[in-house]
Amino acid sequence: MMTRINERLMPARNATRRRLAKPFGLPFGLTIGLALAAAAVAGFGLSADHAQAQQTSEIKLGIVSFLAGPAAGPFGIPARDGSQLVIDGINGGTIPSPYDSKGILGAKIVPVFIDEAGGSAKQVAEFRNLVQRQNVDVVIGYISSGDCLAIAPVAEELKALTIFGDCGTPRIFEQGSYKYVFRTRSHAAMDNISAALYLKEMMPNIGRYGGINQNYAWGQDSWRDFSAAMSVLHPSAEVTTKQFPKIFAGQYSSEISALLLSRSDVVHSSLWGADLESFIFQATARGLNRRTQLVFTSAEPNMFRLGDKMPDGVLIGARGPYGVYAHDTPLNRWFRAEYIRRHDTPPVYASYVLGQAFLALKISVEKAAAANEGNWPTTEQIIAAMEYLEFEAFGSRVNLALGKGHQAITETAVGRYKYDEAAGGATIVDIKYYPAECVNPPEGAETVEWIRGGMKGARCD
């Protein structure tokens, strides 16, 4: 297909220069602009030919995560590292069974990494470039919910198979229906539901609770889900204060005063990355953790970095069965050992979630090929194989149960932090696991309504 465009283009480029530029005295600028565009196209044509020739032995994947900005450290770079590790594992056939065959149906993965920075309009443009210019076969990634929402309809329009890695909003498959788009991790509602469930057992008599969340969609959604779950599970508890500092504010002295004065039994927070660390430094220095049970729904990536600076006893979420909450399976042992060997630090949840998208792709392609007499399947056949897929990933089982088989649910876990010098520093105790069907809404339900309605049909045993 690329060569077709290329053939169409080359004469056009010559025409602009020779025929049009002279007789009409075309403004020089436009000629330059078009020549530039044509040169760009020509350059891309070459690489497209290259990809074409090796199509059966290589599969080109676009991988998008934050390489710059505040989300790079906690999520973007671990996601990239996790991806690279899994790609190498797939290409080398070193991942334990059932993923121990080399490549994806023998094809070697060639990754193209792109920065997710710059907002959704830029990401839509870059997505088109990945698919149409760089000619990638599948796009995997995206951490920001805004980007995922914006990309989904474009992926559909371009008929480009796209697997979202890390973004959290439930809106993608609840407000839309997509054929070419998958998400191989649970959406974010279970992070907050599981926290409320854990609190129910640990502190059945919560009287007052408050929250501090960033003033943007993620923080607002997290608080909404948490307070909705609390009003179901702890109907008598009242809300004290809900703080919404600006994202990346870093300075929380006033907010901490307000939380201290609120005399809350529990303070919920979905802060992440450097904001979370800044809050912890400032809050622990002022003793907030000694008065209040702190609940951090996305603190797992920070605990190894913080060590004894993370106060004992806070509840820690990992947004799923990842990192410290990953089950001890051969897959996980391989992943952890390999990640620690390469990066000298344990993998965090962002590394896991992007990694499991590659596994889903590998299984689906190979399953579709088996039904296709061993030939490389079409995108539609891969999609058919991926819908309602259930597979074993590095952390736990993943089940694409929602969004007509496109949206995953997984179990999740919550535990309490304990800094234990003897056990190697950061540890989690009193871990409780919650089955996928307990903390995720059933197919067809709208998440917020479902929580507010009392989470009917949740199977928690």
Binding site: G33, S120, A121, Y216, A217
Partner: protein, 319 residues
């Protein structure tokens, strides 16, 4: 007469080539051009201001209003016609510009820039707080129709591009007419010496107000077109970095000609997308370095490269 006929023919030819490009170029390039032209309209508005020595760090205000008009009209009024949306979005941002103009037209230099910035940041804050519109995640905009015609896939990309091209041409023509009018001729005069212009019996404040309105309407139209192309709107459209990018392109392009903003915008999009591809870890540095080099060596923007070959005074008049 003969000469202006020749010039008109040239621009018509350029337009035809650009229209043809919609059919010939690969889709990613059509999309990129579409986006570049949409943003070029915003830059065109900045050109009008910049010729008077004013720069606004808050054009994102109108850009965002245009975008959200598309989104909200689709969401609440079930309006999807591109023509209606463009008229609606332009009109609303024009109205806002009239109001804002009363406040900012008194200011010059950095104060003008900062006050504009303040208004765009207030809109940003309001949108971030509006959870019904998805807060920072924004929301998706439905597919546009064109007077009842509802293309899909590749056809949509081409039609949407042609629509943007037509709107851009109309915008450029409007500004060209404006710059040739008496009010337009005052642009540089005001920059050079306001007091003398007042002595001529012209209200400088009124003239600047008119520029703010024109620039605002153009930025609103750019926002509409950009939202139609991207298919998603979010509060980032109003953030100051968005405004900063428009100013960046204005300097990159130069103010020599009404076509310059579109050329500059296209070059900027190309530069950025290739910086993204080849230097994913240092693309900001590439952009910053390019801007520095341009300011140092091409003080009048890219357009000065092109107009230098002709007799300078006559090309200035052309604009």
């Amino acid at each position: 007469m003969n000469r202006s006929y020749q010039i008109a023919l040239r621009y018509a030819a350029a337009l035809a080539v650009l229209a043809a490009a919609g059919f010939l170029l690969p889709q990613w390039a059509v999309f990129l051009l579409n986006l570049a032209l949409s943003k070029g309209l915003v830059v065109l508005g900045l050109l009008v201001l910049w010729r008077t020595g004013l720069i606004s760090f808050g054009q994102a205000l109108y850009f965002c209003i245009g975008g959200y008009v598309v989104g909200m009209a689709g969401l609440y009024l079930d309006l999807h016609d591109a023509f209606v949306l463009l008229a609606f979005g332009t009109a609303l941002s024009l109205a806002v510009a009239v109001l804002v103009g009363f406040l900012v037209a008194r200011y010059r230099q950095i104060f003008f820039a900062m006050l504009s910035l303040a208004f765009s940041m207030i809109l940003y804050g309001v949108l971030v707080k509006t959870e019904a519109l998805g807060s920072t995640d924004g929301f998706n905009v439905g597919r546009p129709t064109f007077l009842g015609y509802a293309p899909e896939g590749e056809a949509l990309a081409i039609v949407s591009y042609l629509f943007t091209l037509a709107a851009s041409a109309a915008g450029a023509f409007t500004v060209w007419l404006y710059l040739r009018s008496t009010l337009g001729h005052l642009t540089t005069a005001i920059r050079d010496n306001e007091v003398r212009v007042e002595y001529l019996g012209v209200s400088v404040r009124g003239a600047i107000h008119a520029k703010v309105v024109l620039a605002g309407a153009l930025a609103g139209a750019g926002g509409v077109l950009s939202a139609l192309a991207v298919g998603h709107v979010d509060p980032e459209m109003a953030y100051w970095t968005t405004s900063g990018e428009f100013v960046f392109v204005t300097i990159l392009a130069g103010t020599g000609n009404v076509v310059a903003p579109f050329l500059g915008s296209a070059l900027f999009e190309l530069l950025r997308t290739y910086a993204f591809q080849y230097t994913p870890y240092t693309w900001q540095m590439v952009l910053g370095g390019t801007l520095l080099l341009l300011i140092l060596f091409l003080p009048d923007g890219i357009w000065s490269l092109l107009s230098r070959r002709k007799a300078a005074p006559s090309t200035r008049r052309e604009a």
